[in-house]
């Protein structure tokens, strides 16, 4: 397996892919490639984080991301603490920063934070010496999902320079989309976003992203269709007229897959609304790498945990009180 080169990685936190350089992204992906091999062994453990404490701090429900981070930490021999909380609030209960400081005072080394507010991990990272890994902040970024999506694409295509990647669905409210866009643009891929105009931020054109309102016009253009979950509450807020119309215009079914390139990949970060944004037969079909994404997620998250920990200052205290 490839040994991580510590000199390339100097970040104690992973907050987003926007701030990573192309080299840093490739470094995580290369490191992850080494870890994906561990999962195929009969004894699936490595000692990299032995004696370290990893904390899952989730303010939003999550099944696969939390399980994936937990398994990643356990395979690296770390001790694991899980905390699931209701939304933090100014009035009741303690603030996010206080929660973080208290947990750090108990010796937590890495905090994995899922939060409904964009920028919450940035706030925590500023206040703690412990490493902070963003496991999704509001509608901002979900960097490990972006990395595992890219990892999966590279597994099929190798170098992504000039490859054409489409993201389909509600881009405005998608942290997965933002992390994909940053990562893919840095690796030289062509990126398109496809969906109703009310759910595609026009501002993304300034990042060199193509906007398409009509899926059928571009089915044979892209190599990858990364399909995002459509959230029913957006319809209730009037962002698109109905699920039926959405499925009619943007649902990926076998009729549409037939018009795609023969090697086209179908991806989905989950959880899937079968029959809405993607049909049953496509989700389980030959083009789909949806479960492969889940498997790769584990390796990518192991790599991230090892890298951030390697950049953590040797000794750390309880945060704000020392730095007040």
């Amino acid at each position: 397996m490839t040994e991580p080169a510590p000199l390339l990685w100097k970040r104690k936190d992973l907050l987003g892919l926007e701030e990573l350089s192309r080299e840093e992204i490739l470094h995580v992906l290369d490191t992850a490639r080494g870890f994906s091999e561990i999962s195929t062994r009969s004894i699936k453990k490595a000692p990299a984080l032995r004696g370290k404490v990893v904390l899952n701090l989730f303010f939003e429900p999550s099944t696969r991301t939390k399980a994936s981070f937990s398994l990643a930490a356990q395979r690296l021999s770390a001790d694991l603490v899980d905390i699931v909380k209701e939304a933090s609030s100014a009035v009741k209960g303690e603030t996010l920063v206080d929660t973080g400081c208290n947990l750090q005072a108990m010796g937590v080394d890495i905090v994995i934070l899922r939060h409904q507010q964009a920028g919450a991990p940035h706030l925590l990272a500023r206040s703690l010496d412990a490493c902070v890994v963003n496991a999704g902040d509001g509608t901002h970024e979900h960097p490990t999902q972006g990395l595992l999506d890219i990892f999966t694409m590279r597994e099929k295509f190798g170098d992504l320079t000039g490859k054409k990647i489409a993201l389909v669905g509600d881009i405005t409210h998608s942290r997965v989309a933002r992390s994909n866009i940053w990562g893919l643009r840095k690796l030289g891929a062509e990126v398109g976003i496809i969906g109703p105009r009310t759910l595609l931020p026009g501002a993304f054109r300034e990042l060199g992203v193509n906007l398409h309102y009509h899926l059928d016009e571009v089915l044979d253009h892209y190599d990858v269709f990364n399909i995002l979950r459509i959230q029913m509450e957006r319809q209730k807020k009037g962002m698109f007229p109905s699920v039926r119309e959405y499925h009619h215009l943007y649902g990926i079914d076998s009729r549409r897959v037939k018009k795609m390139k023969p090697h086209a990949l179908i991806m989905h970060p989950g959880p899937i609304n079968r029959g809405v944004e993607i049909s049953q037969e496509v989700a389980d079909g030959d083009h789909s790498v949806i479960l492969r994404q889940v498997t790769n997620g584990l390796a990518v998250r192991m790599a991230v945990l090892v890298l951030v920990q390697s950049a953590q200052p040797a000794t750390h205290g309880s945060g704000r009180y020392e730095h007040a």
Partner: protein, 438 residues
């Protein structure tokens, strides 16, 4: 404290006459007696006991005390954030000697007792002269009108439902109609409430930040509507806190049609852009309306140059640190501003040659005094007006840090900035406050 004060040798700026140049100002009995060349001997003659406090101001600029028509003080209801007395003292540290405080208190300033309370707290504190802007409707709910006539007698300088007014067009229309009988302006915050549900400027930066956006068109819409009401009623409408190109255009269009409308900009909106908001999710940069783009700032500056924007205000809103130490979406809006407004105006407008010095000072003194109907007493160096002065060093550079701010609340959007220009002395009626002593 002295009965007679002689300010010698400063560079005088008088918005009322448009005159500027080196000269002296004589204050006696709390009023300006003369501005121009005043000999010490003449000053002594006007002093009952012959004693004159002389302040040498060579190299400094002498302007009328600054007049702020937008400060939010916590009292009553949020006294822990800022009392009127503390706010009045913070104000003089920024060169402000007159401050209008908005009615978004708890309870709302919607009755005679509350209006008198503001005046009494201000008089007891003895720093800046604080005047109430009272609610247009009871509890700012947009239904029953407040007792506007009696509130005017109790000292109300303007009326506003502050931030809620746009929700209730019928009440605003009625309120403008009624308030126009008493020659008071109605000040409204210019945001359409249904469109304005976000936390930062809507655009490229909010799209990338994953934060909900406040579109500039919400501002344009609300201003345009209030201007139409002003046209229908003949009431003076003062558009609060312009931040965008859209807003400047809306006021400009109304002016062309002869609508009686004036407008203001918060100093910090001239200095901060939305890309800085995204960089660190810094909650000190969360203000309402939000910081917008470089292009919007260029339009605001143009609006100031062309006279579409009449006033520069502090937009002062203290927020306790534990509330600013929250996630960006959860933290309250607001930045303190009384201590930085002059310096920002000088840095962003005067030192960049966007606006002549006297024009900038006029927008910080006489123009807001006119909106508040206080211009017979405030905002000029004319004999007979209150002896309030802002004496500042145009070129002194300083960094905005928590320790540089006198205010208890440190939530300044400008922390870390270097500004050029700073008040050195503030004179309030019969008292010289040396700000260098802090």
């Amino acid at each position: 404290m002295s009965e007679t004060i002689l300010i010698k040798g400063g560079y005088l700026l008088d918005p009322a006459t448009g005159k500027e140049g080196v000269g002296d100002v004589l204050i006696a009995g709390g009023k300006i007696v003369a501005a121009g060349n005043v000999r010490l001997a003449d000053a002594q003659k006007s002093s009952p006991d012959g004693h004159v406090e002389v302040l040498q101001c060579e190299g400094l600029h002498v302007a009328p005390g600054l007049v702020d028509l937008r400060a939010h003080m916590g009292e009553p209801g949020h006294d822990s954030e800022e009392t009127i007395a503390h706010g009045a003292e913070v104000a003089v540290h920024g060169g402000f000697t007159t401050v209008a405080c908005l009615p978004d208190t708890e309870p709302a300033n919607d009755n005679v007792a509350s209006a008198l309370f503001v005046r009494r707290q201000s008089e007891q504190a003895g720093f800046a002269d604080v005047w109430p802007v009272c609610a247009l409707t009871r509890n700012r709910e947009g239904r029953e009108l407040t007792e506007i006539g009696q509130l005017v007698e109790a000292g109300a300088v303007a009326f506003s439902d502050e931030q809620r007014g746009s929700d209730t067009p019928a009440a605003i229309l009625r309120g403008m109609s009624y308030a126009s009988m008493f020659d008071r302006a109605v000040i409204e915050y210019a945001q359409d409430p249904e469109l304005a549900g976000g936390v930062m400027n809507a655009g490229y930066e909010s799209a990338l930040a994953g934060l909900s956006g406040l579109p500039a068109v919400a501002e344009e819409l609300a201003i345009a509507r209030a201007c139409m009401f002003a046209r229908e009623t003949g009431c003076h409408f003062h558009a609060g806190k312009l931040t965008s190109r859209n807003a400047v255009r809306a006021v400009k269009r109304a002016r062309k049609l002869g609508v009686r409308v004036t407008a203001e900009v918060c100093a910090h909106h001239l200095a901060v852009t939305d890309d800085e908001v995204r960089k660190a999710y810094d909650t000190n940069l969360k203000v309402f309306p939000p910081f917008r783009t470089r292009e919007d700032i260029a339009w605001l500056k143009r609006g100031l140059r062309e006279g579409v924007i009449d006033c520069i205000v502090s937009g002062h809103r203290p927020v306790p640190p534990q509330l600013k130490e929250l996630e960006f979406g959860a933290a309250p809006f607001g930045s303190v501003g009384l201590e930085t407004a002059l310096a920002v105006a000088l840095t962003e407008l005067v030192h960049t040659s966007e606006l002549p010095l006297l024009a900038a000072i006029t927008k910080l003194t006489l123009n807001p005094a006119k909106v508040l109907r206080l211009d017979k007493r405030k905002g000029s160096l004319s004999p007979g007006t209150d002896g309030d002065l802002c004496i500042f060093d145009l070129k002194s550079e300083w960094q905005v840090t928590e320790s540089a701010l006198f205010s208890h609340a440190k939530n300044s959007a400008l922390l870390g900035r270097t500004l050029k220009g700073r008040p050195k002395f503030t004179v309030t009626r019969n008292r010289v406050i040396d700000l260098g002593m802090r």
